[in-house]
Subunit: 203 residues, 4 copies
């Protein structure tokens, strides 16, 4: 087994253990025994327990970044709606494929320590900023109504996080396409029925 393969297998073992037990309850012993290596071998590949945890997080956040493409608002297929749907779909698919890592990101990495908290905040900030820019571009094109783009970006991010958490981790079982559609329709048009939509919202 070459160096890279072994490294990956340790990462996989760590992902599973961290995901199952959380950072503190996960012992290095758990990781190495699951990976089928000796204790010392672990430290040939990673400087310490913390480092492998961070690497798992970092590489997962990169994959999430990669799943989110900037929406091109110019007409023509795919439409803006379809591009948004594709983004949501890619992130959702990634989450469903990597439930363990989602658990790490949304549960076990939270509140571990100030440094990691800052890192997570920066990650979500970056995502929120991307959403915010999309909203701002939409506003420039008069597609999006006047609003506090930052705040709505955070709201959209929160909605997405909760749905992904529920779907990928907490056993909320729902049809992929259904989730994408509902999330987008909600994001774009809110919850109100037609006759009241404008009226009440303005109230």
């Amino acid at each position: 087994m070459d160096r890279e393969a072994r490294r990956r297998s340790i990462l996989a073992a760590a992902r599973d253990v961290f995901s199952d037990k959380g950072y503190h309850a996960a012992k290095v012993e758990d990781i190495v025994s699951r990976a089928g290596i000796a204790r010392g071998t672990f430290y040939l590949y990673f400087t310490d327990k913390r480092a492998i945890f961070e690497e798992l997080l970092d590489s997962f956040t990169v994959r999430i970044y990669d799943a989110v493409k900037v929406v091109d608002p110019r007409e023509g297929p795919p439409s803006v709606f379809d591009q948004l749907a594709a983004n949501v779909g890619r992130v959702l698919d990634l989450a469903l494929a990597e439930r363990g890592l989602v658990k790490l990101l949304l549960t076990h990495a939270v509140g571990l320590d100030p440094t990691l908290d800052a890192k997570l905040l920066a990650f979500y900030d970056e995502l929120a900023t991307q959403i915010e820019r999309s909203l701002a571009r939409g506003q420039a094109m008069r597609l999006v109504r006047p609003c506090d783009a930052r705040m709505l970006a955070l709201a959209l991010l929160g909605a997405m996080k909760e749905l992904i958490y529920r779907t990928a981790v907490a056993g909320y079982d729902v049809d992929r396409q259904r989730l994408i559609d509902e999330l987008l329709r909600f994001s774009l048009g809110g919850v109100l029925a037609e006759p009241y939509a404008r009226h009440t919202a303005v109230a």
Copy 2:
């Protein structure tokens, strides 16, 4: 100092310490020294470190439950919109008044262990269910468009959590009224500008 007062002062000390350092980094020593009591005294009031943490969480979730009133859709002041705004406002005010507890709930309690995770999930489930019921009532009255009420409830919950977290913990500075308005308008009417609202959302 009578038993109840001492108990409360230990709880307050624990809240501050947990909020500052998180569950694991908070030592019983930190709590008792802040409370000005002896180490052993702590165990006269709480069975263990875990118990006081849970009690802080539990009593805070009760206060949140209390802040959320069932919306009465029958006409007449306050309007539905105002009732919703009042709910959001009360939760937000509570969060701003108890930033330490918000940090516990949204950060330090997350991922601590399976039991606590289940408890948190149940708490959010309950909130989501209340939102879901409101949506369902709205649907029955044709105020709310046809949708997956559960899913939208989760989305709304997530949006609220994120905004509260940012506002109460992560230093996102925003005007209280502004936040309530934007959150409600977004929830009710989404992000799209009028001419596109129905059209695109249906697409």
Copy 3:
């Protein structure tokens, strides 16, 4: 058992263990089991293994300093010779009474780490400087021949260290008074027999 007594009993246990096995081979487990306390208790009294070792050394060096009195060269009993003999005697008695600490000082503390080495060097420097000053005073009074007082001070220090080490640690069995006499006669008059004393030394 009050705090001070327990502290002393731990110090005594540590002294014995360090003396028997040396710093590295001495395990905290050895110390606490000899002291009849729990592992954690050790850390209530000393910050770490290193700290207790240093404290043993420091307090012993203080006792050695105290054993060495400045020699008063003015005539009258006790004579200079007797004062010197008293100094040597006190240091020797201390060494014989605390063979374990002598072993620490002359064996186990040597080469442990740069910080400790510097500390030891400073200790011996101080002793050498005291001897050097005595020699210089003797030179001023024409009692001591012209010489490099620093160098002779180091030579005298080394002679003393070796004899103490042999006597207190390495099983060199010798009469106390004999050792004091021989050491002083050697220090004062060297090894040569009378007729050759001046002649050869000048050669």
Copy 4:
């Protein structure tokens, strides 16, 4: 590079590393990386870390033995004094040429473990015995005054050790010839000025 040359280069690397860091702080990794060989190769040349350390010590003590020649008291050049001076000079030159090994011998090898301690003691014993024999021969010829030859041998050995340690390791800067002269004059004639030499010493 033939076997012997490689062996020597590993020894040289080990000498430097041990001398810099001491036995415990010196890692096999440090030695092999300095020697430019693989970790496993080290064990092809030496059974273990301890063995290479001992070999360094052993070969150095042999060189010291070789530097010390038995003093021939029969008249004729070189005189006894010159022969003694030559001995001291050779040892001193060796020490100055091999400061690293001196550090090993006088610092890092001390207190490592009982076996090594015994070895060092035996080495110094041998040197002391040589000095003792010289003194005894001197006594037989009435050159050396009556004294406990063993004790004075130890004192002389200690003086020499301290001066060599200071000069070769601890940065005590002194002229080679000066040191030899002072040490010999002190050894032969002590510290007292002429008029007091016999008188006081006898007191």
